[in-house]
Every structure is written in C-alpha cells, then in structure tokens.
C-alpha cells in the first residue's frame, strides 16, 4: 500500500468530492469503494465567512484522510493563498497543488507549479503536485521537495484514460521509489487497472465516478479494478510475445527462427 509523506494508506483509491448528485450519494461512493483519501476543493466554496463549512463537515464525517486541493487556481499566488486557507480549515499539511495553465483544457502550468511547490514546501506543506507526465518537470518538482507526484492520465474530466502510456512508463521507471498517483483523465475501471499494472501507487477519480449514472456502483467497480491491477502487478505479469506459445510442448513441431 502507498505511503505518502510517512503516512501509510490502506487504499489505493482516492476520490474527489465534486459533482455528485448529492452528499449522500458521495458518502455511498466512499463506502462502496473503500477509498482512503478525499480531495476537496475550497477556492470557490470558501465564501466570505467560511460559508462552505457545512459541506466540509460532511467530508470530515466520511472518516477518511482529507487532501484539500487548490482547484480553480490559475496563479502561484492564488494557489499559495488557497493552500494556507486549506491548512487552517482542515488542520493538515497536505495540499494537492493545482496551478491551472489553460482555462479550457485545465492543463497544469508547469512553471507556476514548480514555483508554488517550492514556496509551499519551504513553508512546511507536504505537496501533492498535479502535473503532466513530463520527466523534466517531475524531476524539478522532486528537486524542490515534493515527495509524491500526481501525473495526469489525460486532461481533467475527459475520461480518455492513459493518453501517453510510454511517457508514464518512462516516468515510473525513472523514479521507481517516488509514490505516484494517476490524477485526472480516467474514465473506466479498466484504465485504472492499467495504471496499477504499470506500477503506479494509486489513482484519483472524480468525474468518472460522480457523473456515472450510479456513482456508488461505479466507485465500487473502480475499487475492484484497482485491486485487480495492483494484485496483477505484484504477481509479476508475463511479457507479451509476438508468437503463440503453447502451454504444453508440441513434440516435433517447434519453430525456432
């Protein structure tokens, strides 16, 4: 099971808390998936007088670790301010750092991300950066003190799965000991299983679950897929081959070319 900044997790699944039909259905999704971490956005909900407090109480009542995020922040300053607000609200040093670089695709701003990660790390935060699979960017994030990486599978909310399998595989191979979470872009349980098979430590889901016709059932489907993928990874899967390999020897018919 993954370890994030010294904290042992009992689940490889993280769930976002936005866009569900109701808080009750959100709670059901958590129960059925066994997700161990809830991410929660606060930028927009905070309001003038902590007006989002009721919803945050509902999140705390889920009984899972809370990872506040800086969703909706488009600048370093905004993200840093939001992180400070989150630390006060949830009494945690964890922050999922999003610095959005493109309003339509919600791609991360890699330059702002590194800058904000450095500021927050120096300020005692434990940063979970939402990043692309770019190797150099991830290297810089580790340089400034991040101990977890959250590369995207595909842009937020697209449900396209792992867009750049080669890039993600390469990232995983270059930093084998850094906990990595596939954040954003997953749409189907099979894609989550694939991420686990590739050796990623966890997945973070929101839209794929919240916008499903039956969010609680979809949450459970993802949990099963994550479990299957992780189990398969530990079981050391076979390598694909270019030719059919019979399970039992066919005497006298071997082709060794």
């Amino acid at each position: 099971m993954p370890v994030f900044y010294g904290t042992d997790l009992s689940s490889r699944m993280m769930l976002g808390t936005a866009q569900y039909p109701s808080p009750s259905i959100l709670a059901q999704a958590f129960r059925r998936s066994g997700a161990g971490i809830a991410t929660v956005s606060i930028r927009r909900e905070a309001g003038g007088d902590r007006a989002g407090a009721d919803f945050w109480d509902l999140i705390r009542d889920l009984g899972v670790a809370v990872l506040p995020n800086t969703a909706g922040c488009h600048s370093v300053r905004e993200a840093v301010t939001t992180a400070h607000m989150a630390r006060e609200l949830f009494d945690t040093r964890w922050i999922k750092l999003e610095v959005i670089g493109h309003a339509d695709t919600l791609q991360p701003d890699p330059f702002g991300l590194v800058e904000a990660a450095q500021i927050l790390t120096e300020d005692g935060f434990q940063v979970f950066p939402y990043c692309t699979e770019d190797l150099v960017l991830c290297d810089r994030l580790l340089d400034v003190g991040c101990q977890v990486l959250m590369p995207w599978g595909a842009p937020i909310g697209t449900g396209r799965g792992l867009n750049n399998v080669y890039g993600l595989r390469s990232l995983r191979a270059h930093f084998p000991d850094v906990p990595m979470v596939i954040d954003a872009g997953l749409g189907l349980p099979s894609q989550a299983a694939q991420a686990m098979e590739m050796g990623f430590d966890a997945v973070l889901l929101n839209t794929a679950v919240a916008k499903a016709g039956d969010p609680a059932a979809m949450a459970e489907a993802f949990a099963l897929a994550v479990q299957a993928g992780a189990l398969a990874r530990d079981a050391d899967p076979m390598e694909p081959r270019d030719m059919a390999a019979p399970s039992t020897p066919l005497l006298g018919q071997a082709v060794l070319s």
Partner: protein, 327 residues
Amino acid sequence: MTEITILGSGVAGLCVAAELSGRGCRVTVIDPDTGPGPQGCSWWAGGMLAPDCEGETAEEPVVRLGRQAAAWWQAQGAAVTWNGSLVLALGRDRQELDRFARRTENHTLLDRDGLAALEPHLAERFPRALHMQAESHLNPRQTLLDLRGRLLERGVRFLPDGPTQGTVIDCRGLAARDSLPDLRGVKGEMVILRTPDIALSRPVRLLHPRFPLYIVPRDDGVFMLGATQIESGERGRASVRSVMELLNAAYALHPAFAEAELLEIGVDARPAFADNLPRIRQRNGRIYVNGLFRHGYLLAPALARMVGDWLLDGKTPEVMDENHGER
C-alpha cells in the same frame, strides 16, 4: 376550524398556505416581510417545472412528485406555460446529449427542422435537440405575488410577527437551520437579461461538462440565466467567475445575448438535506417543511398536499422523517 400558523412566505410557505386554506383551515402566515421578495431564495428561482430533466441527476421522488406540480399551480390560478423544454449541447459536447437522453424520459430527439419549428433562433446553430414535451414553466416572482393576492382574498392573514396559533408549520428554508442542524445551503447565482434580438418560447438547457446553463424566457424580452450550484451557505456575493461562466454559456447558445441589457445579478442559497430530497419533519411541537433544494416550485405543491393529507386526513406523508440527527 383548524387553526394554522405558517412561518415563512417563500414558495414552500405559500404553497402550504394555499393548500390548507383551500381545504378549510384558518391560516396565518408570519414573515418579517409579510410576503415573498428578494429575501427568500424562491425569488431567485428559474420557474422551470421540469421533472423529466431533473431526473438526470435527481432521485425518483423528485421526478414523480414533480409531475404533479404544473397542474397544481394552474389550479391555483398561476399562468403556466405548457411548451415543454429543450436540451441542447454544443458541437464538441454532443455526447452529453446522448448521455442526457439515456438518463431521462419523455423526450423526442429533434433534427434541425424539428428544432426550427419550435425555436427558429436556435435552429441555425444546433443540428439536434431533445424536446422534453411534458414540461412547463412559470414566472416565479409573479406567481408568488399573485398567489399571495389570492390568499389574502381567501382570508389568509400575513403578519410580520406575532403569537403563533394552532398548528405551527415552519417553512423558513435556510433560516430554520437553527433547529434543523442537518440542513445546508447550496449557493446559486443567476443573471437576468433583456434583449429584443432573440425570442424563445420555452426553457432551454445547454449541457456542458463544467458550465451547464439554463435559460428561461419571461415576458418582454426578459431572460433568466441560471444557475451555479456551489457547496456553500453563503447567501450573497455573486462572483465574477460565476457570472462570467453564465454569460459565456449564454453567448455560446446564441451570440444575440452579447448585446443584451444586464438587468439583475442574483444570488442566494438553497436549503438542502444531505440527499437533496425534501422533508416533512415533526419536532419541538412544530412541523417543518424544508430541504426543497433546487426544486422549490417543482416539489412545494406535492409537499403542501402531503401536509394537508396528514393534518386533515391522518395520512402519513411519504417524505415524513422524524430522525433529525441523520446526516
């Protein structure tokens, strides 16, 4: 004669007052403002009676109970427009329309010609639309003011304060949070525009994965654009981002909205329980009717009827709930 005191004159309070006074009760409505107005969240509603559309995300009771609403309002003398409603998606979101169709009932898929027959202004921009033919809409503010007028004629009293007599029914929405700790606010922002450059005869929903919009036409070229849904109990302070998103979506629906006159920016918070379903609850010698969420005009008639059936005929309401501690 059964004596009733209703607290609150938003859509819930007025519907309960109409139902009970219509069934012979002596009704007094207590509200500091003695009537509906901008202090209550039903003032800022869209006025869509759209149970089928709401079925996309709402649970079954919302759809079933909501189907009673239009006839109830009409029986109370409200001007209900029975033109159905339309659901559209922009080019790159066209799969949203398929998803919406899968998850809802009572619709027909229109092609461009079909759409042109209903809303000529939209047909040039949208090749496909869903027509939810059984839906309707009303003007919420006019409806509440008219209903209050009819209740006055019927002998219902509206007082700013005073002693409560008989059975007390608390319909104060989010203001009742002091006695309903599991009630929360869900902030909504809306915009009212006026333009003579485009005409619509029915509510239109524009699907979008992040910025869904609905537009409800009112008289004299006025349109209501709604609405954000933010997990916050804040009852003021419309944000630039929210208003910009609503206006952007309207502009994407039709560029004529770019030259529209901005009449109002509204904001309030809807009262909701954790499952976003309404409740009738008996506690501390009061009856609470609350948690209508974004379904005030759609569900208040059914709840009012249930309150009447309960108090006058002893029928336990379907949405009765005495467990006030649940979340």
